[in-house]
């Protein structure tokens, strides 16, 4: 089941950028909430992660403190803290930001126990590799960046131990991801 992510940020550009980053890297369509009221209407248990800013967080401590383990606060300057609140610094480069997001949105525990199980997005990429597309075409088809395609391909190779296009194609046939020609 796809994980539920809600973005609650005052800055619409940051919100859209965060939504795009999460979609590209994790294949999850995050929901942009219009204010704290909309967040409160959603069942708390169903939300895997809320990405918000310091202003929303501080103005709504009663909402966020009980769910702080599943809340990520966007900051744009160094913040002194005791590490109790999860922070993501938007001045970081994409890789660092993805590393933080991966702590919440990376593979789930049961998938980590099966290292050669591909995520849904990785299967999408594998299907397109096996159909003969090059990285640029895959990026365009899935509406993601080439860097994200490369990251998915690296993860696929690490999980399967297969790196050639031909090898991936035959693996896809063996596992019903594409029809054997």
């Amino acid at each position: 089941m796809e994980r539920q992510v809600v973005i609650l940020l005052h800055n619409a550009i940051e919100a859209t950028g965060m939504q795009r980053l999460i979609l590209d890297a994790f294949g999850i369509t995050a929901h942009q909430a219009n204010g704290i009221g909309e967040l409160l209407q959603l069942p708390a248990d169903a939300i895997d992660l809320v990405v918000t800013d310091a202003q929303h967080f501080l103005e709504n401590l009663k909402v966020f403190l009980p769910r702080k383990a599943r809340t990520l606060v966007v900051v744009d300057r160094p913040v002194q803290g005791d590490g109790d609140v999860n922070l993501i610094d938007i001045r970081q480069d994409t890789d660092q930001a993805l590393a933080v997001l991966s702590q919440f949105l990376g593979e789930k525990e049961e998938e980590n126990n099966q290292p050669n199980v591909l995520s849904g997005r990785e299967i999408d990429v594998l299907r397109l590799v096996a159909s003969g597309m090059i990285n640029k075409q895959i990026a365009d088809t899935l509406n993601i960046s080439i860097n994200t395609v490369l990251t998915h391909r690296k993860n696929i190779t690490a999980k399967l131990g297969i790196k050639s296009v031909s090898g991936l194609t035959f693996y896809a046939m063996m596992n019903g991801i594409i029809d054997p020609k």
Binding site: I134, L160, S164, S166, G167, Y171, M174, P180
Partner: protein
Amino acid sequence: MNNLTLIHHDTKLSDIVIAEPTALTVLNRFGIYLGLGDLTVARACDNLGIDKDFLATILNTYLHESYFPERILASFKAATIVDYLGQTNNYYAQFQLPNIERHFNLLISKSNPDNNNLELMLRFFHEMKQQLLARIADDRNHWFPAILQAEAKASVSPPTPLKGEYPVLNTHCTPPLQGGLGEQNKVQEPEDTIEDKLGDLISMMVIHLQGDHDSNLALAVLMALANLKKDITQNNRIRNRLLLPIYQVLSKA
């Protein structure tokens, strides 16, 4: 991957083969066979009439992944390496590839016909085989004749570097030479290498093979694939670190 130290003129061939039996395939291609006695590299070379440094360099390049020859002497005859690699190619085409195919077919015949895993792996093997045979044909028809022609021309009017030793090119940066002349000039996404495909086939068998199968035959296929991959990897070092630099100098003569 082996316990061998670097090979010198006084190294006994028997010590080399006991430490790393695959070295015998190299010696065989130079006409040296089992029953090695106390034969050293130097004495074997005297018997064969080849340069002592040459055989030591060939063996070190073959056996040690991190070995890059410090000197490639003018006495290293390209024709001798071409002959060696030609025999290697024949061994692949006439023995190793048919051997793997025979075992693969036997494995499939004794496995559950409802399981298409092994048949798809055999198709993948056929694809790799065609790529390897194409490389062998390219060697035989283009690259090797071009090297021999350049060496013959250089023997008449040697290029400056041939007066002592070849300059050691920056072989660390030399792209792997999978094919012959044609493949070097391709400007496109790199093709999957033969080694990559063999590695993938091995991964498929080890990690992803499903269904009932004859475990002894599966082991035979796996060992044959692993031996071929190892041999190709080791001989690619001779192609890329020895023959290619020599050819690059000769072709400028």
